[in-house]
Every structure is written in structure tokens, then in C-alpha cells.
Amino acid sequence: MSDPRLADLDVIILDYGAGNLRSVVRAVERVGAKPEVASVPAALDEADVVILPGVGAAADTMHNLRARQLVEPIHEYIAADRPFLGVCMGLQALMTVSLEGGEHPCLDVLEGQVVRLPEGRKIPHMGWNRVEQRRSTPLFDGIPDGAHFYFVHSYYCDMADPNDVVAIADYGADVTAVVERGRLAATQFHPEKSGAYGLRIYRNFLLEHSGNGGSR
């Protein structure tokens, strides 16, 4: 069931030309919110929650964010500790630098590098992997430790500060699965493609930040 408390929340899903936003939009709608897809910096001003989705390569993502002049507004938004959820490339883009296809500076909100998954297994890391919760957070309300989520990626976030990591998945390395710092959270997996528990991540995040409407 969708939650009526989410109906009045201003949820902005950032569109920076990364393609398929439809499943993220539908997932957020399914849990009871009415998201708006936006690609202009001004959209962040009024937002209660901002979601940065994404697939593809880090270089393209950063190029697209710069072209739409979203880099500074995202920085300011996160610096003000307003609720922000990154998904997949939306997590990797928050890191200091990505080594995917060269060396590409990213948003540098979270310290660390985006590095290639270790050799010896099939790449991309594709499918449902067990997610181990490192500490309890409202983001995991109602989600059992060890529940599976859907991953598709070839690079992963090597976090400088282990305190940022709230869940990992094993794929030849401890792959950063979920990070959280203040009101910023991000997942390497795709919650919108991870069945009921995936939707629960969206619900938990939105519910956690529905009380005070962010810090606008």
C-alpha cells in the first residue's frame, strides 16, 4: 500500500539525459509520492527530496551534469544537509574520482575512488546479490539483513571513510552497496528493480524525510 504521508512531499528526480527514468518515477509513485522529473538547477530550491538516478559511464554523467549546470546546485543542496538519494551512477557520481575509462573527477561529496571490480568473475556484476547491513538505519526498516537486491555495474566505490558504508555485497571485494552520511544516502544497486524490498528503500527514505520537509 502506498503511504498517504508521502503525497505532499516535493520529490525531484533529476533528469540529466541519462535515459530511462521511468522505472524510478514509477517506483516512487508506487510508494505513494508524486515525483517530478526536472533538469533545471532551480528545481532543487523547492525540493524536499532529490533523487539522482543513472546508468552508464561516469564521464558522461559528469559531462551531462556540468552541461546542465547542476554541479554547483547539487553541491550546495548536499552541503545544506538536505535529503538526497543517489542510485547506481547517482552514487558513483558523488565520489572524488572515477577511474572508469580514464580518470574523471566527480562531485567529490564522498571521499574515495570508483574502481574496477576485481578480475576473476563475470563483469558486469549483474543480478541479485545478498546485501549485508553493516549498521542499522531507518533506510533498512522492514528489510531483513541479507535480503537480495539487483546490481548492474562494472566499477564500484572504494570509500575512504568506512563509516559512510552502511551495507556491502560480496563480489570478489566488499562492494559498497549502500552509503549514508547525514541526510545523504545512495545505493549501488537499483532499488526500483529490486522487487518489494527495493521499493521499501524508497519508501523508507521518503518517509524518513517527510516529517520536516527538509531544511528549506
Binding site: 500500500m1 502506498s2 503511504d3 535515459g19 530511462n20 521511468r22 522505472s23 514509477r26 517506483a27 508506487r30 510508494v31 546508468v55 552508464g56 559511464a57 568473475r121 563475470k122 563483469i123 558486469p124 556484476h125 549483474m126 543480478g127 541479485w128 546479490n129 545478498r130 522492514g142 531483513p144 535480503a147 537480495h148 539487483y150 546490481f151 548492474v152 555495474h153 562494472s154 555485497a169 560480496d170 563480489y171 537499483h190 526500483e192 528493480k193 529490486s194 522487487g195 518489494a196 524490498y197 527495493g198 521499493l199 521499501r200 519508501r203
Partner: protein, 261 residues
């Protein structure tokens, strides 16, 4: 640990599922979206829709199906059948498909793989390979729904499509397809060991043991099945339990949207 995936596959003709699906609990067993919703509910890990409509000039029916699926199904799904350009791919991805699959079009113009991978990312480009093990033991690629031999070696082609940017290979054996007598294990293993991307075994699934064999002996990363689930005689979670009992990591927890939300 990464689990092995069971992928349900529907052949769709003019918006209707073919292959005589008979689910008593469905109002409309021919509606791909209703079936996809049911399979998701029953614990399938991923879905594939293959559009076998003869004419691909009018894509509205497929686009409508993809959109309605994306509205109701929150697991990954792939769409293929008659996609011949990166614009065809874009239409499917923008309508809500997570991946697209190409087969004959990739053999006829291999650049299509790289164009798609460059524009949308390798993760959403699945190259389907139909292959037959010939009398002399060679493994040959076929196109046009398995009717036309190409003279191309299946393992070499698999390597090439990965080099060109395919993120996954869906491998169907023309020898075993439709017989429900097990997957083609030597072919699956040869291809899976030759490439660094995940390989989906397809063609021949008749029971859980076949899927176990495809993974343990065939080294497949996922198993695709069409008909065995279509009649309700092999419930998806039963198959998963048998695979797990054989030591294969599977996603066993499976929650209803309404219970969790």
C-alpha cells in the same frame, strides 16, 4: 554472494503471449503484462519479452506492453525482436525496458552492438546467439529464428560481441530448444568460459535438474525458461528450492509488494 537467476521468457505476437499458456488463475493468460506480474509475484528473478510479430513497422503495441510492464513490475526485464537500429533500442529503453536484445540484426551489422553500447551502456545490450552443434562437432551460429546458417563459429562470435560491447549473452541451442530435455551443456560451457560477461542458458529446460546442470556443468550465470513455468506444473519457488538444495545460491526471500509497503 551473487545468486544465479531464473529468467522467464514470453514470446509475444501482436501483443499476445503465444505458446499456449494455461493459467487457471489468470483472467487473461494471453496478456504479457498480466503474466509478467504473476511471475514477479511467484519469485522470478528477471523477464524477457521476445516480440515475434511478423511486421515490425508498427511498434505501438510493443511500446504499450513495455510501458504497462514498467508500471507494474519492479524487477528487470529485457525486450527484443526486430530491433534494427539504436533508435529502435532507445524507444524500448525509454518506454521502460532495462535491457534490449538483438540477434539477427547483430550478425548482419555487428556495428549495431557497439552503437548501442556506446549510446546506452553495455549493461543494457544483450546479444542473443542461436547456435547449433553440427554433426562434425562444430558450433555454428544461426539467424532468422534459427533457420539460416551463417558459417560463423558460436564461440568466436560470442567473443566478438563482447569485444563490441555486449554486456550479456543469451545463448539458445537449436539442438535442445523445444525438447524440454535439458540445456546444451557443452555449448553453454564453451561460450560461458570463453567470455567475461554473464551468459544466460536457453533452450531445453524441462525441470529443476536441467537448470542445476546448466549452472554447475554448463557454467551459466542465469537460466532462461519459457514453457516449463507456463502451465503451473513447476512452481518457480519449488524450482528455486531444488536449485538451492543442490548448492546453488538463489534469491529465496520473496515478498509481496503489498506486504512490504
Amino acid at each position: 554472494m551473487l545468486t544465479k537467476r531464473i529468467i522467464g521468457c514470453f514470446d509475444v505476437d501482436n501483443g499476445r503471449v503465444v505458446k499456449g499458456i494455461s493459467f487457471v488463475e489468470l483472467r487473461d493468460a494471453g496478456d504479457p503484462v498480466e503474466l509478467a506480474t504473476l511471475y514477479d509475484h511467484e519469485g522470478i528473478d528477471e523477464l524477457v519479452f521476445l516480440d515475434i510479430t511478423a511486421s515490425h513497422e508498427d511498434r505501438n503495441t510493443v511500446v504499450d506492453m513495455v510501458r504497462r510492464t514498467a508500471d507494474r513490475v519492479f524487477i528487470p526485464f529485457t525486450v527484443g525482436g526486430g530491433l534494427r537500429s539504436d533508435d529502435d533500442m532507445r524507444l524500448m529503453l525509454e518506454s521502460g525496458a532495462d535491457k534490449i536484445t538483438i540477434n539477427t540484426a547483430a550478425v548482419e551489422r555487428p556495428e549495431l552492438i557497439s552503437e548501442g553500447a556506446h549510446r546506452f551502456g553495455s549493461q543494457c545490450i544483450v546479444v542473443a546467439i542461436d547456435a547449433r552443434t553440427e554433426a562434425d562437432g562444430s558450433m555454428q551460429v544461426y539467424t532468422h529464428g534459427g533457420r539460416r546458417p551463417t558459417g560463423i563459429d558460436a564461440v568466436e562470435w560470442a567473443k566478438e560481441v563482447v569485444e563490441r560491447g555486449a554486456g550479456e549473452i543469451m545463448l539458445t541451442s537449436m539442438n535442445t530448444d523445444g525438447h524440454q530435455d535439458g540445456y546444451d551443456l557443452p555449448l553453454t560451457r564453451a561460450v560461458s568460459e570463453a567470455v567475461g560477461v554473464p551468459v544466460i542458458a536457453s533452450g531445453g529446460a524441462g525441470n529443476a535438474q536441467h537448470m542445476i546442470d546448466a549452472i554447475t556443468e554448463g557454467k551459466a550465470d542465469a537460466v532462461l525458461a519459457a514453457s516449463i513455468f507456463h502451465f503451473g506444473t513447476h512452481p518457480i519457488m519449488d524450482v528455486k528450492r531444488q536449485m538451492q538444495a543442490a548448492g546453488i545460491p538463489m534469491r529465496m526471500e520473496h515478498a509481496d509488494y503489498d506486504d512490504v509497503l
